[in-house]
Amino acid sequence: MGVLLTVAIFLPLVSALLVAIARNSTFSRVISIATSVVVFLIAVYLGLNFDWNNPSFQHTIKLPWIQPLGISFSLGLDGMGMALFLLTALMFVVAFVWSAKIEDRPNLYHALFLLLETACIGVFSALDLFLFYLFWEFMLIPMYFIIGFWGHERKVYAANKFFVYTFFGSIFLLLGIASVVIYGYIVSGSVSFDYFFLKNIQYPLWIQLVTFLLFGLGFAVKVPMWPFHTWLPDAHVEAPTAGSVILAAVLLKMGTYGFVRYSLPMFPEASKYYVPLIFFLSVVAIIYAAMMAIAQTHIKRLIAYSSISHMGLVTLATFASDWNALNGAIYMMVAHGLSSAALFMSAGFIYDRIHSYHMDDLGGLARYIPNLAIVFMLSGLVGIGFPGLAGFVAEFLILLGTYKNYPVWAFIAGVGMVLGAAYFLYMYKRVMLEEETISDYRREKWSHLKDLELHHWIAFVLVLASSVLLGIYPLPFVKLMEHTTRMVFGG
């Protein structure tokens, strides 16, 4: 099965090259959607064949690659990797379907997204730190150009800021990787980048403390944790809709994925030592970002801040050293991926129709585009944790787990969730309901607005149906999460 996983990684790369040299834009659209669907089917197939009772990585493949440096081409999935692979594959289908009508340089656009897909799946399945870093960092290039080419007014600024911030984090990560590899070399006498080899080394406390910070900085920028979060609102505001979808649904998860995959198992003592620091940063992110969200009038910026707030919940729960909390954290990664994607699609749709993201220009849209009003509401409900939807399971597990060891922190996190409901409903009111503020001229113009088209429907249905599935039948997914949790906590 490892071969299938390899195919899922490199198929988009091959398609990207095809699309880049193609002359015909219809060809590139078809190829891109077909590729992403095939990858999604592979993901589903691997997911159905995933045995969560077997406590080891599955669908593995290991080929020799750079032998003098102990680097191998090693892939494999655990429960979390599987879940995020499924999420990634789904999101790229959604992104390509959503972009079906893009006019501006379509071939390049599709090629960059396909490259991004290769990098994203690679990050979630690499079991060799060199390979992991390769995908992790390569992701910057396509995303930089996606923001820079198809963004809005301040796209150059946002693209550069995104790149520099992320690079800032990941070069520290590279130093961290170098440090653990060298420590492994000193202990065992051989250089190896293999994940399992490095995980099974007992690092002395001071090395753990240093390398945890080096790794953590890389992950924290990507999450993004407060105070490294300022690139995110800019990147989201300027990015094209599909770029925002991928950024929010997939790229942010890389940071929290890194914490769970690398920081927790490799540096267990440091992970306990830094709990106060991480909790503090997470809670600041949860509350501060939620307050910032309430203050925004730009709907994309509001959603971006809500992402920061939600990701704060994930980092909080990740380090709560509790079985349920970690399950909830991973569940939240998926749930937030779905909700933020749906919200960004709603915002993007509004922009496509009305050419503004500002609440002052909007209001009472529910009357003119009722279908959007429904899916927008549903997307928001996923985000604020409405029972029966994916977000609820995640938030419930997080609160349950965190409360056991850290009741005060859990209480503050709960406040953040309430704020989440507040800013979403406030935005919904301003954009969809409030009719008093709009001028007659706008009413006249908006009476001909076109509601959701077929490709919008497909994208929304894919995301929202998944959210409902995760909300009403969480068992298989929780089992997936538990597969990882068991590995982290042992037993």
């Binding site: 003098p68 060199f130 820079g148 693209a159 130093l175």
Partner: protein, 460 residues
């Protein structure tokens, strides 16, 4: 006399004489032919490396070859042949077909080749001067151009200071050890410390480390662009080979580590900040190379197998990125009135996707983004520094890399993303230029994914 050890140098010398006479006999129409011939001379020298039996010594032991020197020479010959292939079209377009270029480049290569093999301070001195003087002439090549003359003069002056420091250092070495041969030396005394101080200063000047860097931006700015690709790479390659040898011999001295660390930190931070103030892309790349001198110096701060191998790998791929980027720059400069101002690069990437993408790949490589090979070098340097217990220097390297990312990105975003008036539309590539560019790109990308292809040849 062991002639076999000198095989590649003999090939080069014969080629130089041949080109010298051909330049006298043939007229201007055969300008292109001379360059291609020069490139092939260098390739033949490269091939002859496979017939050299190592290890060998000759010239009363002042000239030594081992697999370590073969690695450096191999890269050097590839570099000089690639730069020769990329040169001719620029000078034809500038209407200055000077026939002396190929043999001057090869002469400099010959000097550097001797330099790599020298194990004696006197022969080192002679060979580095052979190379430097050829390069001064090459810098001043555009006789009609004021900038070219000025930069050559500055280069000559600063180079002479370096020569003086070199000589002074050698004298102290002789005073301390009673010999000009480089041998392990353990006695810590004033004379030897002075040798390290002067000699390192001389080498720092040649590799353009701060505070001896002042000639670099001017020389890069004024010299004919395609030649900068050679000037910025080949001499550095040879000098770092020497520095690695010196590290293996002398790095147990505390002074060595202190001096190298100071030079390196100054270069990294000064250059990376100053680069932001540059408006000329050539100067920007000059500061980038000063910053890289700082990075590379970290690789000779401590004697450690992993560290020095990483340095040589990093250097070995870096030179191709530099050469490639200057080939792109010289292709741009073939447009009438192009002066490398940042504003003139606006939209050039969109207008010339091939050149723009190539330059972006090199810039991303300088930043250290995978899968470009420089990233493997950076990783290796980190590993070596951590192993040597110099974590703080590694951290400084990391911070400097972060600072540097911004100006490379600025150039990239000007070329591709910024909108506004596009003043220059584009330019064509000659066959030689596209060949060089292609080889550089393949090197950078292939060695990033399969670094063992080069790593296995690095033997200390």
């Amino acid at each position: 006399m062991n002639w076999n050890a000198l095989l590649p140098e003999l090939v080069l010398s014969i080629g130089i004489l041949l080109l010298f006479f051909l330049d006298l006999l043939l007229d201007k129409r055969h300008f292109r032919l001379l360059h291609v011939l020069g490139g092939f001379v260098s390739i033949f020298a490269f091939i002859s490396l496979f017939f050299v039996e190592v290890p060998a010594k000759t010239f009363f032991d002042t000239f030594a070859v081992s697999s370590f020197e073969l690695f450096g020479k191999g890269l050097l010959y590839i570099l000089s042949s690639l730069s020769l292939f990329a040169l001719y079209d620029y000078f034809l377009k500038k209407n200055s077909p000077y026939g002396e270029i190929p043999y001057l480049v090869l002469l400099s290569t010959l000097g550097l080749s001797f330099f790599m093999s020298s194990s004696n301070l006197l022969t080192l001195f002679v060979s580095v001067e052979l190379s430097s003087i050829s390069i001064y002439i090459l810098t001043a090549l555009l006789r009609g151009d004021y900038n070219s003359k000025e930069s050559a003069f500055k280069y000559l002056l600063m180079g002479s200071v370096g020569t003086a420091l070199f000589g002074m250092g050698s004298a102290f070495y002789y005073g301390a050890t009673g010999s000009f041969f480089l041998t392990p030396y353990a006695d810590q005394n004033t004379l030897f410390s002075l040798f390290i101080l002067f000699f390192l200063s001389a080498l720092a000047l040649k590799i353009s480390a701060v505070p001896f860097h002042f000639w670099t931006p001017d020389a890069y700015d004024g010299a004919p662009t395609p030649l900068v690709g050679y000037i910025a790479t080949a001499p550095k390659l040879a000098l770092y080979m020497l520095l690695v040898k010196l590290t293996l011999l002398f790095s147990q001295f505390k002074l060595w580590l202190v001096l190298v660390a100071v030079l390196s930190l100054l270069s990294m931070f000064y250059a990376n900040f100053t680069a932001y103030a540059q408006r000329s892309v050539k100067r920007l790349l000059a500061y980038s190379s000063i910053a890289h001198a700082g990075y590379f110096l970290l690789g000779v701060s401590f004697s450690d197998q992993i560290l020095q191998k990483a340095l040589l790998f990093y250097l070995g791929v870096y030179v191709f990125a530099v050469l490639g980027s200057f080939v792109v720059l010289s292709a741009f400069e073939k447009q009438e009135g192009f002066s490398h101002h940042l504003l003139e690069y606006r939209g050039l990437g969109r207008e010339n996707p091939v050149l723009g993408v190539a330059l972006s790949i090199f810039l991303l490589a300088f930043i250290g983004i995978p899968p470009m090979a420089l990233f493997v070098g950076k990783l290796g340097m980190f590993m070596g520094l951590v192993k040597a217990g110099l974590e703080l220097l590694a951290l400084a390297f990391v911070v400097a890399s972060v600072i540097s990312a911004g100006y490379y990105l600025k150039l990239m975003s000007v070329m591709f993303l910024e909108e506004g008036e596009v003043r220059f539309r584009g330019s064509s590539l000659s066959a030689g230029e596209s060949f060089t560019l292609l080889v550089c790109l393949i090197f950078i990308l292939l060695l990033g994914l399969f670094p063992q292809l080069l790593y296995t040849y690095i033997k200390l």
